[in-house]
Amino acid sequence: MSIGQLQAKIISNQKLAGHYGHLEFDSALIAQQATPGQFINIRVSDAVEPLLRRPLSIHNVQGSKVKIIYKIIGQGTQMLSAKQPGEFLDIIGPLGNGFAYQNLVQSKKAKSVLIAGGMGVAPLVFLAEKLKSSQPLVLIGAKTKNEILCLQEFKRLNCKLALATEDGSLGFKGRVTDLLKTILEKTYPEVIFSCGPQAMLKAVASLALKNGIDTQLSLEEHMACGLGACLGCVVLTKNGYKTVCKDGPVFAGGELIW
C-alpha cells in the first residue's frame, strides 16, 4: 500500500444542514487502497494562510470516488466548503492505520457495535459498509437532533440504529455512553468501534474494559505533516508516545493511557 500526493478533481461539494458539508473527489489511488478509519490530508489554500493541511476521514468510497464529510469550524474548513466542482484539491493519502475489522467481515451475526459522537460518524459509515453482512449495531450521539448525521446512510446499510441526544430531541435522552451502558446489559459484542470527542472515547474505553470488550478507537490530534515525520501528533500509549497520523488514528482502547 502506498501513499500518494495528488491533484484530485472535485466531483461535488454540497452544503448539508447546519455547518456541515459533503465533498466527493475522484482518486482511483485512494479509493482502491483506502480502508475504514484511514484519512487524507488536504491542502485547502495554496497561499500561506492557512499554512497546514487539514486532516479529514475517508467517509466512503465508490468506484474511484472518495467521499468526505466535514464540519465548518474555522478558516480551513470554511475554505474547503467554498471549493467548486471541477476544481482540483491537493491531497495526500490514504493515511494512517484504520480499524481492525477483517475477522468480522464474514460473520453473519452482529458481533460489533459502532459508536459515533458528533462528527465521529465520518469514518464509521465506511466501516459499517464493510461489516454490513453482520448487521452491526450503530449508536450515534450528539448534543441535539440536527447534529445527528448520516442516519440515512446507516439505514441504507441496514444497520441496527440507536440514537442519543443530550437534549432528548431525538432518541435516548442523555449521553450516548449512557445509552451504551444500558445496551451492554443485554448484548455482548466482541468489539466496539468508536470515533468522537476524546471524553466520549475515554468513557467508551472504560465501559468496554469493565465488560471485557475490545475497543477500536479513532483519535484526533493536531497534525503538521500527517506522515509520521514531525512527531507532532502523539498520544501516550503503554508503549510510549505514538503518532495518531501513522500509528493511528485507530488504536486499541487497551493500549492508550488517558
Binding site: 502506498s2 501513499i3 500518494g4 500526493q5 491542502r43 500561506v48 494562510e49 492557512p50 499554512l51 497546514l52 493541511r53 491537493d90 495526500i92 490530534e221 493536531h222 497534525m223 503538521a224 505533516c225 500527517g226 506522515l227 509520521g228 515525520a229 514531525c230 512527531l231 507532532g232 501528533c233 502523539v234 498520544v235 501516550l236 510510549g240 508516545y241 501513522k246
Partner: protein
Amino acid sequence: MVKPIKPNLSIKLGALDLKNPVMVASGTFGYAQEFKDFMDLKKLGALVTKTITVKPRQGNIAPRTCETPAGMLNSIGLENPGVERFLQEKLPFLRKLNIPVIVSIAAEEAAEEFVDLAQQLDQLPEVSAIELNISCPNLDKSRLISQDADNTLEVISAVRKVTTKCLIAKLSPNVTSIVDIALAAQNAGADALALINTLGGMSIDVHKRIPKLGSWVGGLSGPAIRPVAIKMVWEVYNKIKIPIIGMGGIIDLDSALEFFIAGSTAISVGTANFINPKTSLEIISGLEQYMTEHNIQNLNNITGRLKACKD
C-alpha cells in the same frame, strides 16, 4: 543566440560535496522513509536527520504543534530513538539512498554527549556530516549553548577534536547578536553554519485559557520568520568565511533565492515539507531552470550577490 550551458548546482560544505544545494531540515523530514512513497529522495542535495541524542527521548507532552499566522509552533522535545537504535533502524534505509546524510545531534545534560555522539558517527562512512543542534528551544534549559559565545566555542572545539567529518553548527535566532555566535562557531572550527533554528514562541487558546502547546512554549517556524532569518544570514555572511546553510520559511524557488542572495551557500526546507513534501525537489528543478534562463553558471554567482541599491 548560443545554446546556454547546463548550470552547475554543486556546492561544497567544508570537505563535503553536494550535487545540489537543497536539503531538508532536521526534524521536518523524519528519517526520510516517511516520504519515500511519493517523491524521489535520491534527487536531494542532502538530508538532515531528526536530532539524535545518546539515550532515547520520549519528547514533550501533546499537543506538540499549533498553527500561527503564516507559521507554526512546535514543541516536539527532540523525541528520538537514541543513537543506538538510530544506527540499527534508521541509518540502513538512509544509506541506500546514496545521498549525503547529515546526522543532527544534541546533548540532553552534559556537553560531553556531543563528543560521545560525534565519536560514534565519525566511524561511519555512510554519515557525511554532523550537525550540532546547539539551538533546540524545546529542552527545558534556561539557556541554550548557542545563546552564549563561550559555550558555543567550547562545545564545537571539543567536537572538532574528535571528528574530521564536515561539522555544521546550527544556531538559534534568539540572541542579541547572531554575528558574535557565528564567529565563535567559526573560530571553533565549524565547517558550516545552519541558520536559523526556530524562534521562541507561544500561543494561547483564549477560549479555554490554556497554552496551545502542551509544554507551553515552543519554536516558531514557517514563512512568518523568513525576514528574521534573511537578516541574520545577510549579517553573518558579511562577517564570516565559512558557508551558510540558510533556512526559515522557504516554501518555493523565490524564497530559496532570497536566501541564496542573502548569502547562503545551501538552503534547507523545513516546515514546507509538511505542506508540500515536494517543495525541495521543485526548488532544485526550478533553480536549474532559473540559472539556465539567466545564464548563471555557478551558484556562487548568486550567493551574497545583493546589488547595492535599485537603479
